[in-house]
């Protein structure tokens, strides 16, 4: 399966709105999930007011929380399986 590319915006607004929580969540995802994802940082996804923002395989998600990110990831991984 092609890896899921997750870009986490680490710019000023997203940092202040909780991007670190998303990074911490991505650090502790189960090992089998870790092998399926490719986490990258980015400087701006141009939705600063609605952060923290991520891009998953090119689709932008705004106002993310670790729970929402988990839902997005599990949907993608289940669909791929």
């Amino acid at each position: 399966m092609k890896k899921v590319v997750i870009e986490v915006c680490l710019g000023t607004s997203c940092h202040l709105l909780g991007a670190q929580d998303l990074m911490a969540y991505l650090e502790r995802v189960p090992k089998d999930w870790k092998e399926l994802i490719d986490v990258r940082g980015t400087t701006c996804l141009h939705h600063c007011g609605k952060g923290p923002n991520i891009s998953v395989n090119g689709t932008i998600y705004t106002g993310m929380t670790p729970d929402k990110l988990q839902d997005v990831l599990s949907d993608l991984i289940e669909a791929a399986e």
Partner: protein, 384 residues
Amino acid sequence: MNALFSEVGIAQLSKRGEELCGDSVQVVKTGTHTIIVLSDGLGSGVKANILSTMTTKIASSMLQRGIPLSDVVDTIAQTLPVCRVRKIAYSTLQIIKIARDGETTVVEFDSPASFLIRNGHIVPFPTQERVVAGKTLRVGQLHLQEGDMLVAVSDGVIHAGIGGLLKLGWGWQGVMNQLALTCHTERTADEIGRELIACCEGYYLGKPGDDCTAVAVRLRQPLRLTLMTGPPVDQNTDERLVKRLLSAAGKKVVSGGTTANIVSRVMGKPVVVDLTYPNPDIPPTGSIEGIDLVTEGVLTLNAVAERLQSKQLHYLHSRLQDGATLLMKMLLEADEIDVLAGKAINPAHQNPHLPVQINLKAQVIDKLICSLRDIGKTVTIEWV
């Protein structure tokens, strides 16, 4: 001829039992000159410190305004308070004035001769006696070159060891021999000054019999740094600004996510963001090939400005790899800093729930520039 930069290093040691050093040093940088004034006040402790501080403050501020030497000496002689014990007003005076082209004037009044170091050879700075405002001074003028070094010391350095390891003290020759060992290496002016003072402390066996001060000045090419932060108001100027950044001499730093994206787009090279958080308060750094440092914008700049304002210079020796520490190190290493600051406003930063400093970017940049100027950096800013 290229303008030279005078790198100044100062080290001091107070007489045993005294909290204040009776020697004072003032360094003033004008657009054209670096003026260094060293004074050794009569006696030691508070009294000596007051005398020497007055001398250096008066001399440096008058010289900065271009007032002639005779008036400076006259003013100092008439202004110094009279010592109640010895019934005299007295402090030594040493002035080093270096123009950006290397033209150097040295004035000495009752102080040890300054050391001139060129290509590992050390001689007293050549001076001639002159009577100015009734005082006999030694005055010399010489055109210094890149790599030359000047060292001025107070007599506590020359007499180091008296009452300690050396019966007759270190002597001018002894100091010269020590400088010969250290000056030919790539050491900074600061290190050379500190090494001399460390030797003094050793010769005095940790109980200095006099206040000691060493001022080392090295002439070298200035180290430049260009910091681009914030996108310009007019997007059509993006390319021109990035090209200016790339063609600037010295180190190049980009602060701000959108700014990094602009630089990346114009250069055609990706921004790679580091995913680690060495310091949870500072967003991660990034990298773009050809740029020395890429950091987040306003939070990082604010952290650097606050650390500089509160003199938290220990970050210089820190191994932390967060953006603020890396940027602070680079700024402190540079002599001349050009800031290209974009005036475009990110509407998302006007959110009242976010810390106030992020929508006050201009104030943060001003604070940073003031702190850098306070520690002697030459900073220019252009708002775009």
